[in-house]
Subunit: 336 residues, 4 copies
């Protein structure tokens, strides 16, 4: 951590501040320039409250050298995290392919899609039972019934299931029965929810908030991990920018950057980034080429009747084409 | 609603789609251009699922004419909403001045600040008992104890209290005892929380999400109102942009735009927008000049020891100067 | 300047780098932490090429303490810059009010508007002769003829004239005859143009680029000042964000921040920020309340026939109302 | 084009406006809703001035159905544009690989790099002679001398040369002698420069402005094409967002979207998007996987001594590795 003093601060004041912060357990060294003095702090800076320092009349600003996340930080955990979930895995050599409808609409719909995507190469089944919708007047999901349908689809296909939790109150409904709990982009900083899933021992697929920096994203993962649940999967799904042609702007750089900064697996959701069906495939190709550990793809057997996200859902046959095209890309990436 | 067909769609297909959507209860009329045909829809379009339409192979895009929010829409409620809360009010002639520390830290701290701000012109007392913090390792608030301290401060000063709810599980703790429930920016689209406060009959101060469009902001208000709780207060607190000098970019235009589109009161939080103490006053002045119905200001009697947001908290004496400067601006705005 | 070394760099390597950069004329001091070492540099760092340092295998990143601009920096020029231009002035006590049409369309149009705004309190006349238009198929301005019409309007009203220069090739046409040369937002980093006006001795109204940080904005001013032309006026006109309701997002914080960082006068263009007529007045009020030194307002006597920006131009009578409302706000700000 | 009338407009007013715009050469049809009336316009809407319409008291907003660009529009030119330049080409089957230093620094430097990249698979040589730099105090390029060195390198290697033009005044220096003229991101809306290169018959590599929408980007291409120079190459190089870890955010979706909307070739500059050396390769891989027609890569034989962009330049041997990895990706994309 670096403290930059305001121009005009006396050397005595700089010294006094250095002595004071050293009482909190770190070590400081002063560099005195013509206009600015800086105090470089090393060691244990956890007891320092940055806002309090910035509140001082003679402090210009605080700059951070180290990352604020620990458990998610590759610096302290150099090896890639890999999770074995049922017969599938996320992280490591296998490319995780999560596919399924945006929302679970009925048993018939889900089973049909589940069987299709299983046959075509999916390794996980996704589907929303509790749906976060922008409008209170839109379909809000089947709730508990949707969870039961997902479990039935797992029984039949063997695919582990991924579904979104929206509130700590749903912990009971999800229990140990869902294979991967998804936290949606809008809830990335719903800290009570992060704490709740931090208490579970179920892998969590955490989606990046639409205006979250990569550091904030990793801090949200840290919340879950700090609770003891270290099986977090990071999911880039597009960020909000000035560009309006696409629903969101897929931040493809996030893939290599997150993998450098953290040991957690990183997957990409091209469906939500694109918001339009024909864009899903090129974005999926790019994601795999950039080194993603997996994809989450919306697939629907009848998009024109889908209760949500029909415009960005692939038909099963298009999903098959996509899988067939990404496989050779993945091979190139893995140097095979 | 307007449906734009893809180039090359035949007139028969356009007609067929028009007939089909009319079955859902609205009325369409076709404009056939050289490259594009459009279908203009009027009447009741609530039964139309936009994603389903966009999922069709011959639909290029859907454009919206009407706003998706009803209860928050000034078109259907031309008169300004005004809420009387204790001896104070929000909306209408009186400028609401909400002041207090970021977090309730102790009874002594809160009572001291509460008495100060009351004497200096505040009309509401704010203070966080449950605190959303970016890091799991930061102070998370006093919780229920904080609520009790707020109630004690209200008893002594008479100021109605404003405090943040982070989870539906806290509804019991807040009950009917908090005068205004705040929903933080990070929870603006925590739909389960919005539904929970929608069931209460306590005014809700809803902060704009840091990347929420004004339409999404009003849709979040609509969520609360759809539950039956129509006393929503909108709070602009800065949005996230590429500019990093300020913590957030105060979107000053949001004030007149929200007041034109909606009948709900609009207040501004210059403390979070600025993120730096000396910027709070000019932003507060601008907010009142732009027509805001109130301000929410962080005040601390010892910012260098504040457990959060010390760098942007005003000292009581600076808060007094700010109040003294905004009063004449407000008079100009009200044409007095 | 602070050099942060990568984890794992040996103390010898850190020392070697310190010795090396000290040869360039500055002084370094090392703070050695557990994971990161940092080198704080003071003194003359102008000879350091940041990209070269960052290119080194053992350097993690460079952090800047001092601002990169000198001539525009208030640290070195504490007193406000004030320019006397004809009978008017910008900076200091007088509020500069620049008004006129987006484009000069004809002598009749400009003279009519010029007389109106003069009578209503404008202190400068604006009007575009060379027009930057998004489409090559739109009206591109009257060119040299427009300059002549502006000069005629100045002769009649006495108002100094402000008009945009788009290319170094226009220096001849503008010569010493235009009172204030405007550089548009799209040309804020057209460095050849900045160098060209840096050679003149005519005040330059520099508009902020729509995605320019405040530091980049001040560096663009520095370009002009480095050429010897120190009479630069900064103009905030809205930045590009995700919000699409307004044409741009007026960054109201830019006003107090620029005035703190720089001694140059700061004005606001609410017309371009708003993009809609009814929003111009509240934004102008906010700008003056935030401490702006002036306003630039588009006024047209027949917006429905304006060749550009009709939708955001005020009618003369609305401009009069605006001026009448901002005067008392300005008085409050100046403590009168 | 669609005109949305304000609530409360009478049917007579709507009819009157329809009649009026039809006089300008298009055909309108009215859809009358409960709150809003809309007028759909088809046919030739070029004579309509949108700002004038929006300036009317009873018009709520204008919505666009058709794209504003014609010559760049794939709708009117379904076939991909391919340019043969020397022995190389851009567009079509061959992947264009543009490589070289950020700036031409000396004959020795450029010739060494040119020979290296030629041997390693580059098909074009890049290098800046005129350099746009954020600071007036940074190296500004060798100017005309740099052009001569580039020509010498072409003579020796046979690689066509790509270099940036910053001002219409440089047209003479570039003449017919540069194979591809680059327009930098900061000059994407320097309309006088676009018009100047529109008069030439040399291919133009147009970089996307850092806050330009895809429509604005294509309109900038249209400016050049409207002048008669139809050989435009579009280059995505990252946009500005809130994320600060990368220098810019590579908008990977821009590749498939631009290729769908336009017939022009689309290349990607991963070096400027990344701003850090190790990120260049994964972004280049993603770009090719998303369907880009080429890449522009900064390569330097001594990045630690580079006069600009050293931190993001690849060493020749790293460039070779990158080329070797993208070739098989390209084969997958082309279905070979």
């Amino acid at each position: 951590m670096i403290i930059v003093m305001k121009p005009g601060t006396t050397p005595e004041e700089v010294n006094r501040l250095k002595d004071e912060v050293e009482l909190l357990g770190c070590k400081g060294s002063i560099t005195q320039g013509e206009n600015y003095a800086i105090i470089g702090l090393v060691g244990d800076t956890r007891n320092i409250n940055v806002g309090q320092l910035e509140a001082r009349a003679n402090v210009a600003k605080i700059m951070h050298v180290a990352e604020p996340y620990k458990k998610a930080n590759r610096l302290f955990h150099p090896k890639d995290s890999v999770y074995k979930i049922g017969e599938s895995s996320i992280g490591g050599k296998e490319l995780a392919i999560i596919a399924g409808p945006c929302a679970v609409e009925s048993e018939e719909q889900l089973l049909s899609i589940a069987k299709d995507v299983k046959r075509m190469g999916a390794t996980f089944l996704r589907g929303g039972a509790f749906k976060p919708r922008t409008s209170p007047y839109s379909f809000q999901g089947l709730g508990q019934e949707g969870i039961e349908i997902l479990k039935e689809a797992r029984r039949i296909t063997g695919l582990p299931i991924v579904t979104e939790m929206m509130s700590p109150a749903q912990v009971g409904a999800f229990g140990e029965e869902v294979d991967v709990i998804q936290i949606g982009a809008r809830n990335m900083q719903n800290f009570d929810l992060l704490k709740a899933v931090g208490q579970l021992r179920v892998p969590v697929l955490l989606k990046r908030g639409m205006a979250a920096t990569l550091t904030e994203f990793l801090m949200a993962a840290e919340y879950i991990m700090a609770g003891g649940n270290e099986q977090v999967i990071l999911c880039e799904r597009g960020i909000r920018t000035f560009e309006t042609y696409t629903r969101n702007t897929l931040d493809i750089s996030a893939v290599p950057v997150l993998k450098k900064k953290s040991h957690l697996p990183v997957i990409v959701d091209p469906s939500h980034a694109a918001g339009i069906r024909w864009l899903v495939e090129p974005l999926a190709m790019a994601a795999v080429a950039a080194g993603a550990d997996g994809l989450s793809i919306e697939v629907h057997n009848n998009p024109e009747k889908a209760l949500s996200d029909g415009q960005q859902s692939l038909l099963p046959e298009d999903f098959k084409k996509l899988v067939d095209r990404i496989r050779p890309i993945r091979k190139v990436i893995q140097g095979e």
